[in-house]
Symmetry: C2
Subunit: 501 residues, 2 copies
Amino acid sequence: MSIEKTLENFNELLAKYQSLHYACSTIHWDSATGAPRKGAQERAKTLGILSGEIHSILNSDEMVECIKELSANKDELDDITKSSLRLIKKEYDYTSKIPKDEYAKYCEAASISSRVWEEAKEQSNFELFRPHLEKVINFQKKFVEYRGFDKYKYNVLLDDFEPGMTIEILDEFFDTLRKRIVPLVKKITSSKKKINSAFAKEKFDIDKQKEYSEYLLHVIGFDFDAGMFRESMHPFTLNLNPYDVRITSHFYEDMLLSSVYSTIHEGGHALYEQDIDKKLSGTIAGTGVSMGIHESQSRTYENNLGRDYHFCKLIFPKLKEMFPEKLSDVSLQDFYEAVNESQPSLIRTEADELTYSLHIMVRYEIEKMIMNDEVEIKDLPQIWNEKMQEYLGLTPANDAEGVLQDVHWSDGSLGYFPSYALGSAYAAQFIHAMKKDLDLDSVLENGEMNKIQEWLTDKIHKYGSTKLPNDILKDVTGEGLNPNYYIEYLEDKYSKIYELN
Amino acid sequence: MSIEKTLENFNELLAKYQSLHYACSTIHWDSATGAPRKGAQERAKTLGILSGEIHSILNSDEMVECIKELSANKDELDDITKSSLRLIKKEYDYTSKIPKDEYAKYCEAASISSRVWEEAKEQSNFELFRPHLEKVINFQKKFVEYRGFDKYKYNVLLDDFEPGMTIEILDEFFDTLRKRIVPLVKKITSSKKKINSAFAKEKFDIDKQKEYSEYLLHVIGFDFDAGMFRESMHPFTLNLNPYDVRITSHFYEDMLLSSVYSTIHEGGHALYEQDIDKKLSGTIAGTGVSMGIHESQSRTYENNLGRDYHFCKLIFPKLKEMFPEKLSDVSLQDFYEAVNESQPSLIRTEADELTYSLHIMVRYEIEKMIMNDEVEIKDLPQIWNEKMQEYLGLTPANDAEGVLQDVHWSDGSLGYFPSYALGSAYAAQFIHAMKKDLDLDSVLENGEMNKIQEWLTDKIHKYGSTKLPNDILKDVTGEGLNPNYYIEYLEDKYSKIYELN
């Protein structure tokens, strides 16, 4: 077959593949934003059938032929096709190397395990969950063997979420964190600094909180003509293509700051997707390249920008204007300190910017031990609690607020957690580079958020998945992952807020 | 192949077919209820590809084989499979008899024609639209030839929307209407009765209108756990399955009654879909059987029940309670008369219950002439205006409020309009039968809407598409379409309101 004909077939298969993904995503969005309860079973059945169709396309003879032909003629391909080929090949390798019947058994086990995890968490009963966790993790280990690995099985899983990421890089990263952040957290815990954050626990009208969230999205540059903003139980971002990126936030009367920073966080994810080069729209490469880079963008907006003093100066007046009776006595400095208050806690999703990555470190170390066969599943609760005590100075009173708190492991998804910490580290490294081009303090104070967005678009967003994470990092900052930017950013910021010395 | 194996294949193909329809429907819903403007192009592309997949399943060798095998073994099939086979065969016949390239050309022409129609309506310029209308209608005529017809081409199109419907039946129906409703309308137009409906044109808060609409849906028995209620430009009902039926309404400050009766109308459609036997859920037969029967259910709720004095007595107190400052001086009798005010008008969608079917009669007569080659397209505006003058006593000042007002013909969809009038006639005939079992006045006054819903479910709703329209009619009322029930209902109701004699 001619290369032109192969390309035509390849693009036609990808268009179907993308359309089915688009359909599944729309159904997911619908499901999370109001679809009726009783429709859940038919919805799940439909998603199952559509996913099966995606799988069929991926494993069709035509697709295998295209992958073979195009891989043999890589030099003749344009950048988008090269990226599409890389991405689809990764998907294909995964599904083709694992025996179909074993994969089906895993899916069933994962589904049951997730359900049992929910129950176990409710009852704080790890023993109930243990056999299911063992089962899905054994599947994962076996799958990694099928897929092939060099030194560490865990590296295969890390690469799934962050192409190119390895234990070697992460060990160094977390070592630095352990050495410098753990002591910083201890200093802060014993500091005498009092932060006045009581105002943030008062009751703020939900509708007005939503209105403020919309204001924030306007401030950071979210394009409402190319996106939607809704409410859901858990905040999330869903991207159909750069012209259609949806985000949600959650709203509780007595958790004002939670809605504010969840919205900005998801807004950061959304800007990444909306700003991808439009020529990638509809292609498989037309989305963010990795979990880590994605999280770097949400965290840049949520933390590095969103919790910066000058950004607070920009957004606080509107908040005061909307809630005069609650905030008249609250100063900008109070607000700034409140949004940066740090206190070790047991639950990852509620952790502050400083202690967050220590929660990830606990999970990383345990995941590594699991994949290296250095731990038995039955011992996880104890190990978890020991590490929490060591790094955060707290021991969970029960497993619900300990090892059972996160959903991720319940279907065997190991390797995902590190992306969160990487995101924070990438963010600090990107911001360091950004400061060479922009006077960030004045840009933030003046609300020239478009300058930041343009910078990020030009350096990161526009590429979608056509550049690998580490190449982006190197091209933008001149080096690979360097945890020092992150550590220094945290040390500098929190020493000042907590008046350490 | 064994019949068991064939059935297995058939059900698998149908499950895929249904899942793709589910996906398209969800994308349509999403599109009408907030999806971002800039995503429209990718959305259309995706729908195009998914529709292509539906088409491929329908025309696959496997499907053809299944249809052939099962048709040859009809007696061995259960009711659901029999209905599914009938429905899929109809779809298949349509797509398989029309040459693929001609169908593609028609789709393109229809899409352009619809766009031009919009422009032509805006400019009130029929000449702009004329060549496109001619083109799509010529396609329709040719397609009917491919599909095969007996005496009248138009019967083929009527049957598409209302299985079993023919010119013969409709001629008789509209003859009776012409003879008895046209004079009634003239009498009312010259009656001295004054109806006090000014209150309904005042400004009513939109959010409160929405709240009242939700109240109405609760009253009639809409299951919010198996459905959603939202706002959109044009009210519509979308059903994924009996567990997931969505409706919209529209809201304007100075059109209170429009939102009230649009909501009840769509609510009637929704009850039909929600009350279909759950064993049909997910099957191709698990939806309303025809446009006419569907419209009979929405009109039963909107008109026969919704505009009944006793129903007004049930729902008016809540409205008064919600808008005391606007409605304190309005009596129940005022409200009842206002919701039944009749006045000939030019626009079908704004017509009242009495004059509505005359608008349909105009369209029916013209469609019949078109399909019988008894008229040239260029003469439609004049014929339209003459008929409007004859039946409604009004002549449109321009084609925008005349022949150009409706979207239906723009893509060649002839045969659809009669369903609206049939719906009203069926409704009156069903209500006549219902009154033998239920004391409707007291049921309505006491808000025992569940009794009505149970009756309709038992006689009509539960069957989905497993019974043909005329069989439903005969089983429920003991006879086929009989326009007298409808005419007598209108004569009786309007003579009283307008104090004719």
